[in-house]
């Protein structure tokens, strides 16, 4: 794998955004621009996935669903144990951070898609289902871990039931998840003629719009770098080791259980290695107000996301190639 595969425009724009932040440039994208691009990208990814699924065998999608649930439930538990046992992190912060690692980052996923596209590698249609599924179980596991944490802390079960119900509902009515599932459904049912009409907007210009999104994410990541001090060495390290652990399981399940191609295994690995910054942070803010948001946001945006985008994706791809014996 040559250096040039790193020179994917999307990744370079991410670096540009981070650079702007590091040299304290006054570059700033309007906050609404971020929201708009996220909406656009989620719909685009959903439509594309739905279209691909409509021409795949839906029965074959089931293993992907199981894998997604396994990641969504298993990875937070592993993360929680590491944070508690090795890091001696207090239970509630550990619970909040862990939940993020059961979930996925649509931005990382899209960058991986751009990466694979840039080197001309194809992939299965199923990983996008995993992307859509994985936010919800992570939120619920977060709730369970928080409840467990509160119990071992001996505190009163302060959480009122109303909030639990609210959050369970939220795990399914969350705007981003809905947009992803909804567009997937739309992509699956519309005719080819209809799809052709919206393809220029949602597919042809997608990779360019992704560049602007990643420049913005680069600035967001850059902002968090300054909080590495408050977060501490252990957590920063965790933000790099945990995606590797996720990637390990991703490679295993992707290759041996799901039996996907190199491209597909790469995407599954990226999903397992990535960590949420869309649906989980606000949910944890609400579910575990005692936890410090700058911990999980710094880990998610400042460590894991940049690590995956710049180093992770090409490494996971190389590992997938190795497994496939290429």
């Amino acid at each position: 794998m040559s250096v040039s595969s790193l020179l994917v425009p999307a990744i370079l724009f991410f670096a540009l955004g981070m650079f702007a932040c590091v040299i304290k440039s006054d570059l700033k994208f309007p906050p609404d621009m971020h929201k708009m691009i996220v909406i656009y990208l989620l719909i685009g990814i959903g439509l594309h996935g739905g279209k691909a699924l409509s021409s795949s065998n839906m029965g074959d999608a089931l293993p992907a669903v199981w894998a997604a649930l396994a990641f969504g439930i298993g990875l937070p538990i592993i993360a929680y144990i590491i944070l508690r046992v090795i890091g001696k992190i207090d239970p509630l912060n550990a619970a909040a951070i862990s939940a993020h690692y059961g979930s996925v980052s649509a931005g990382t996923y899209m960058t991986a898609v751009a990466f694979l596209g840039g080197i001309g590698v194809t992939y299965e249609a199923y990983p996008v289902i995993m992307l859509a599924i994985m936010e919800s179980p992570a939120i619920m596991i977060g709730l369970v871990l928080a409840g467990y944490s509160r119990k071992i802390m001996g505190g009163a079960q302060k959480q009122d039931k109303g909030m639990y119900k609210h959050l369970l509902l939220e795990a399914f009515t969350n705007g981003s998840i809905l947009l992803l599932f909804g567009s997937m459904a739309i992509g699956a049912v519309v005719s080819d003629t209809s799809y052709k009409k919206i393809e220029p907007f949602f597919e042809t210009i997608f990779m360019g719009a992704l560049c602007i999104f990643l420049a913005d994410m680069g600035m967001e990541a850059g902002k968090r770098l300054s909080e590495f001090k408050t977060v501490g060495v252990f957590l920063v390290g965790f933000g790099i080791v945990m995606p590797l652990i996720g990637a390990f399981f991703g490679l295993l399940l992707g290759h041996y259980y799901l039996g996907y191609s190199v491209g597909g295994v790469t995407l599954v690995t990226v999903l397992a290695a990535s960590c949420s910054y869309i649906a989980v942070p606000p949910a944890m803010r609400l579910a575990i107000p005692e936890a410090n948001p700058s911990f999980y946001l710094t880990l998610s945006l400042g460590c894991t996301f940049p690590f995956n985008v710049v180093i992770g994706i090409p490494s996971y791809y190389a590992a997938a190639q190795y497994l496939a014996g290429q």
Partner: protein, 109 residues
Amino acid sequence: MMLRPEILISMKRIEIVIEEEELDNLIELLRSADVRGYTVIKPAGGLGSRGERKPDEPFLKEDNAVVILACEEKQAERVIMTLRPKLKDFGGMCLVSDCQWVIGPAVSY
């Protein structure tokens, strides 16, 4: 103030800051107390007992809303009494101060 009472009426100014999600509930409550005028500014950021809120931070989705209302003292008491039982849930803050309404605009208090 040297201005005469034909020009100024003594009133109360109530200023409430709560999370944006609760705004609809607050406004319903204000209406149930027969409030006929208020002003809403949002999004607002801030620091409170539940930590920091930044409208610029796209990842936490937490904003505040500021509600300002001017009314006569009697009405202010009623508003506060209606709000009180809910203030604990709303969080944020609720301030009351003295002010004078300059007569001129249509009465909306």
